[in-house]
Amino acid sequence: METVPRVVVTGMGAETALGHGLHAFWEGVLLGRSGIRPVTRFDTRRFHAHDAALIDRERGPDGAALETLFARDAADEALATCPDFGGGAAGVAVGTTLAGNDALTEWLASRPARAGAPPRSEAGALSRELAERYGARGPVSTVSVACASGAAAVGLGAEWIREGRATRVLAGGADAISPFVFSGFDALRALSTSVARPFDVARDGLTLGDGAGFLLLEEENRARRRGAVILARVTGYGSGSDAHHMTRPDPEGRGLRRAVASALVQAGRVSSDVDFVSAHGTGTTFNDAMEEAALAHVLGAKARSVPVNGIKGAIGHTLGAAGALEAVLSVLVLASQRVPPTAGHTRSRPDSPLRIVSGAPFSPENPIAVALSTSSAFGGTNAALVLERA
């Protein structure tokens, strides 16, 4: 009987406002730090909100956009222990919402009008850039399902390995904050005028953030043969649509429930197996209420005991990178058996069905073997990943 290849995580990288690299990210979230600060990259005087979790960086000498720089750094780190990554069995799956937007908007506004060659402003350029950088000649794709893009890219990469299209995949997401997206969320009145406080009773909106997160996914047998350290397994991915509204989530979270159910089925798990949730947790009234409803439904009686973390109070909402960074966080939780506190959260509403980890890291008595990471997006798209302890 033919067995489906198993997918393991053997490398990770992160670029966030908490600092350069995975260590800064993990140390920062464990300590409950926040990278949210007043924006200096662009003028925010036209807007209601003025803070974001931005990475202090300028465009590269080659003109590379910020999201490309973040992606290169995080991907370099993820591949640091795999120097021979590349070739026809190596793939790249990238999630992004905004890649290329800056270059396009600058070209549109250039004077004389639209002078010079148009920029390579398509979102798909990001995955091809990384494929060129590392010599990947297998499947190379960019996924763009708004704020669920990073999770969808990790799910797609794992899928390629399971169906035999690749044996190694660099999978993750990247985005950089610009006036374009800042203004849009501000126009929707979705931005907090202070800081994002996921699942807090006093939450008043999201805070945007720069970021990139990448995972090196490998077929397990090949990873073992090369002596790679196996950090975790990616066992399930699911996608579901709210079919409800373009920007407002379904109050009952039915699309997210479908995504989670699908991911659990693929993983061969049931909801009572879930030991930890890395939630989307934007800090908006509607998203967090939806997620509370969905997770309460999914986890049932276990909802009040499963530790939940949301990282957007620490690194902001990194859009296309968010799901990937939350997958990275899930792997770190599985490996360390420590759940970081949710930065920005101090008090849940009294009837909250969830156990939001707050204030200090939490180490449960029972092992954390199965982690669930959830993402929800404009367009009603939801994605869920199941990751398991190695």
């Binding site: 036209r46 807007f47 209601h48 026809g88 919402t97 937007n101 396009l104 908007t105 549109l108 506004a109 060659a117 148009p118 398509e122 979102a123 798909g124 350029a125 091809r128 494929a131 060129e132 990947a136 000649r137 297998g138 190379v140 794709s141 960019t142 996924v143 763009s144 399902v145 708004a146 969808a152 797609l156 169906e163 006036p179 374009f180 203004s183 849009g184 969320f185 501000d186 126009a187 929707l188 996608s239 579901g240 649509s241 709210d242 079919a243 409800h244 509204h245 373009m246 920007t247 039915r254 699309g255 479908r258 699908s262 693929q266 997006a377 404009f378 367009g379 009603g380 798209t381 939801n382």
Partner: protein, 319 residues
Amino acid sequence: MRPLFLVSAALAAEGGSGAPEDANRLRRMDRFGRTGFLAGTRAFSASGASRSRGTDPRGGVIVGTRHGCRPAITEHAARLAAAARVEDLAPSVFASTVHNSVNGELAMALGLGGVSETIVSGRSAGLEALILGARRVATGDADRVLVVAAEGVDDAMREAWEKEKLAFGERAAGVELVETGAAVLLEAKEGEEGSASEKRIPARYVSGTLFFEPDARRASARFFEWMRQIAAQGSGEAEPPAEVLLCTPEYEDFLEGEERDAPRIERFGAAGMFEIARDIARIAPTMPSPHSPSKKIHLYVTRDVTGAVAAVAIEFFSS
């Protein structure tokens, strides 16, 4: 893996109109949204399916596009450039600046609550979406997936294309950019009453490949290797691949004359799906049953000059 079928297909071109019940929905969309939505709803209707009052958790939408919501991005950018304060912006325009806008609109209109994914991988995006949709149905993640490829073309995109194509030299001379929407409905064979097996099925999805190979000659060699595998595997009663169609304009030495003449029209990420949907529409009126002895496999391939290749093998039930 379940066998899966392309049960219906449809195209949408510039200026098309939709069903009366979609008028308000269409008004809020950008050109990409309208083109993709129209193709998707038409393919859905052509299958004989009716719009669900509830939500079908086993039905999904997968979209492929190169530029996606670029018309909405352009509009929001223009508004932002002119805005003195944030209240001068249009929140509804910003809400359309996500590449999965077509997924969301189709999911709401047709009650498709299952998988929702959008691939934005250049000219190969449409066929990549079809490959992904096939995977979702074959593995049981969904029972039916509406696969849509769309490019909405505004003035700024047309202007950008005129400059972009200069890099391709004489081969791009006269190549026209055309707004395109194309969609197919994929279904598994098994199912309840009214399933694909009981319908007049135009085609079956056989296989797909995707890879990244910047060197055109090497890309060509890899494609033909895959084609030989398809031929060697056979496909039931099907004949070896009858025809290879390069769906994207040939800006470089890729397939070197082995294929049907490549088009002189640029459809970006919708190119491959356009050709498939058109071929299905051509044969649908005369198609025999899936048990017909006359079956032909066609290979559709898209090549992005940056290196991406996506190709699919489709078996047509037609003489």
